[in-house]
Amino acid sequence: MRALYTAATGMVAQEMSVQIISNNIANMQTTAYKKQRAEFSDLMYQSLRRAGANSSNQGNRLPVGLDIGAGVKTTGTPRVMTQGNLLPTGKDLDVAIRGEGFFRVLMPDGRTAYTRAGSFETDDQGRLVTPEGYLVDPSITFPQNASNIQISQQGEVSVLLPGQSQNTVLGQIQLARFVNKVGLQSIGDNLYLETDASGTAQISNPGVDGMGNLLQNQLEASNVSAVTEISDLITAQRAYSMNAKVVSAADDMLQSTVQMLR
């Protein structure tokens, strides 16, 4: 009975859907988290009769075929890269991006990763780092006695040094942009890696080339909407139980066949 296996593929797909929704909900408060969605597609069809085949020797053709599908599969889990809300935090080193860009982060293994989570800190040497301690690229070092940290919309970092009345420019934060940011590979810790699908990073200062502006004292919230996720969860749950019902209905049919043999 093919229906049994077809319904099983449906149950597997909905299980995947619930898994993704639960990860989205778990990351609802994660800075700059971008939600994922499951993308499904149908499996192959078995053609029992093919449309256009001859139905008589006089050249009549079948107007429709007889195709039976074999179920569903998950083809991908693309991220939805829309802008999250901006939350004021009041912390000097919290920076949000309003626009397309990503911060560049130097990984311990030498690779460059990209992130939108701008909750930065300084390490023991005064360098600007992510909460995991990875260096922000290009590197910016704060002197011990610096105060009044200012990060402009265009990414210019300046501080007030003792004995001076004007801010001194320390460096420039640069952003990267991708032609297809959905193609980035996520590696956890809010970090993404460049892939063939994302295209190579285009590096530029904030505020130009559609990079987006920087906003100091703010963080980008996740773009997960609780209402959408819960309604998606209900849909997935119902879809799962409907597929389970198909399994039991197919089983009932088989059982009634078996009961004919007495």
Partner: protein, 254 residues
């Protein structure tokens, strides 16, 4: 007497087929761009008694068999995703993708980009524009699809709006003759694609959900199941009848 068994059997075979189709519809109720499938049945008359092979029955018995599967091409509901490359077609029409087997047609507009900056679907097949594949530049941002399918982007270097391509949206005179393949793709053997009419439009940032109506499928499923069970019990009863007949009529003990 045998006829009752065979007629029931022919119906049971088609019911199983219908169950398979319902299972596939329900499994794909969350597949973007999926169109619900249905099976149609027809009566099949047993052949007339001929002189060469005289049949004992003087009345023709009708059986049932499936005549084909039809696709419900009605529009599915639209879901907002906010994705730049998520497209939905409103009205009649299909996107064209290039597969190794030739052009295929789909309603699923969940697209992405490959390493060359070409617009591809989730299987990596290139989406066809009116002048071949749709190519973006690495510097492009703010990609916009108009209602008519014209694709514009803001190019970083020149910082101006550039028209990149136009989507090729096609329609068919006979949609029912399209052949389903996997991954939401359709083949069109023996038909040429016509350009879509003005009523068809493209919406960016949305996807077309599956048009499977779960309630209908569930009630169809119950109907199929009950019909199958009642046929089973009918076959059992027929069998009982025959058993009793053999026992009563052929009782040789007295």
């Amino acid at each position: 007497m045998q006829n009752a068994l065979y007629v029931s059997l022919s119906k049971q075979v088609t019911l199983r087929r219908e169950m398979d189709v319902i299972a596939n519809n329900l499994a794909n109720m969350d597949t973007n761009g999926f169109k619900a499938n249905d099976v149609t049945f027809e009566e099949y008359l047993s052949s007339k008694a001929r002189i060469a092979h005289p049949s004992p029955a003087d009345q023709r018995v009708s059986y049932v068999r499936e005549s084909g599967s039809t696709t419900d091409f009605s529009e599915g509901s639209l879901q907002q995703t906010g994705g730049t490359l998520d497209l939905a077609i409103r009205g009649e029409g299909f996107f064209v993708v290039e597969t190794p087997q030739g052009d295929r047609y789909t309603r699923n507009g969940a697209f992405t980009m490959n390493e060359k900056g070409e617009l591809v679907n989730m299987q990596g097949y290139r989406v066809r524009g009116q002048n071949g594949p749709i190519q973006f530049d690495q510097q492009d941002s703010n990609i916009t699809f108009s209602r008519e399918g014209t694709i514009t982007a803001i190019n970083g270097i020149q910082n101006q709006v550039i028209e990149r391509a136009k989507l090729n949206i096609v329609r068919f005179n006979n949609q029912n003759a399209l052949v389903r393949e996997s991954n939401g793709l359709y083949a069109a053997p023996g038909q040429t694609a016509q350009p879509a009419t003005e009523k068809t439009s493209v919406t960016q940032g949305t996807l077309e959900k599956s048009n499977v109506r779960p309630i209908i499928e569930m009630s169809r499923m119950l109907e199929v199941m009950r019909a199958y069970q009642s046929l089973s019990s009918m076959m059992t009863n027929t069998d009982d009848l025959r058993k009793t007949a053999i026992n009563k009529l052929a009782d040789t003990t007295s």
